[in-house]
């Protein structure tokens, strides 16, 4: 047994994480992505995903959490590993492989000043500029993953405030899935899942009648999951 033994013949590479950060603009009722303006060459001034390098004492999840916290000031952001991107010349500066993540945040919660510091901006999917390196490929894959995930896991709520109306939830799904849904069938479906709590409170901003507010009941969801329930929309 040797001290400081290693695998000497092998080549090491830089490891990055890049985050596709999604948010839902309740006012405009559109899905948005948070992008930063690159402050170093090459491609200085172009738009990119927020990223960073893996630290010596971090897992890639740690690194992604750190990167997300740095930009938004938030902790415990929902995130999920997406895919490794490793084309040899993907980063012209140096061989770097990148682990892409998708992350979902409530667009109103984050630290506005921080994102200004990073010259970051929210873009609708329509207005999204072309991104550097292979970031467009990451983004496209991330959007597909999001579309799939919201259909099979109750993660859409991460994009909404704690209390939301049935209509907001429906708009969120319509926007992410890029489809129209029937409101009668939608609420029937959602209610049949029995994972939302209907509050007595109403949101009166959108109509005279006001619409009931709901809350995602995570405990109920977990309990049902233990009993074999599978979320499906």
């Amino acid at each position: 047994m040797f001290m400081n033994s290693n695998y000497p013949a092998e080549s090491r590479a830089l490891i990055a994480v890049d985050c596709i950060i999604f948010g839902f603009d309740e006012h405009e009722e559109v899905l948005k992505v948070l992008l930063i303006k690159r402050d170093m060459t090459p491609h200085k001034g172009d738009w990119s995903l927020m990223g960073g390098f893996l630290g010596i004492d971090e897992t890639v999840d740690d690194a992604a959490s750190r990167v997300l916290h740095t930009l938004t000031g938030l902790d415990n952001i929902y995130m999920e590993q997406l895919h490794v991107f490793s084309e040899v010349a993907r980063d012209p500066v140096e061989r770097t492989i990148s682990v892409a993540y998708i992350a979902l945040i409530n667009i109103n919660d984050h630290d506005q000043k921080l994102i200004q510091q990073y010259s970051a901006r929210w873009f609708t999917l329509e207005d999204k500029p072309d991104l550097i390196f292979d970031h467009d490929e990451m983004f496209n894959l991330g959007l597909s993953r999001l579309q799939h995930r919201v259909s099979t896991k109750p993660i859409g709520f991460e994009l909404l405030p704690e209390k939301f109306t049935m209509r907001q939830l429906q708009k969120l799904y319509e926007e992410i899935l890029a489809t129209d849904l029937d409101k009668r069938n939608f609420s029937k479906k959602i209610n049949s899942l029995e994972i939302l709590e209907k509050l007595d409170e109403k949101d009166k901003r959108s109509s005279r009648k006001g619409s009931y507010l709901f809350k995602f009941d995570e405990e109920k969801y977990k309990e049902k999951s233990r009993q074999g329930f599978h979320f499906k929309i």
Copy 2:
């Protein structure tokens, strides 16, 4: 613009790929996994997934293909990136992050001599020994991914010979999903997908009557996919 510019302050790490190689034993009608006996310290003699390090001129997919070819002699193996494992101390020798892959092969196609060279063996899921490092975690995640994938993509055929009976296909699904299926409902379902070609040929090994052989019609599947069809079992 500088020559040989890089990101100097960041730390580099070794990058490995590890492959969870699944096969279906038609005779025993069980799902198996191909493991190798480790020939270096630490954990020499213990069982592990087949792996290798990322080469300087390879993508991680390239590396996984190479690793799979090295062990099996096969090319164009179905494989899919699973997840990055990056616990700081996961490899006690040196900081290494590993990209895990699942791979599906026909258990009768591969090069028997090669796997002997690597002291590799097929194990049923029941007999699978404990694996080194975090390879058990990789394996468990890989099995979940396989279960999900065979339900939503026509990849089960990768585990069977080109021509197979409806019963073999059903056994394969039963084994992977760890459930029993009704043969009437199963063949009704499969046939309704219209992606199999029923041959005139029969396999007479399993019964006097013989059972019809089928072939996966990839072209038909691709055409249907273009038209919005989604495989679902």
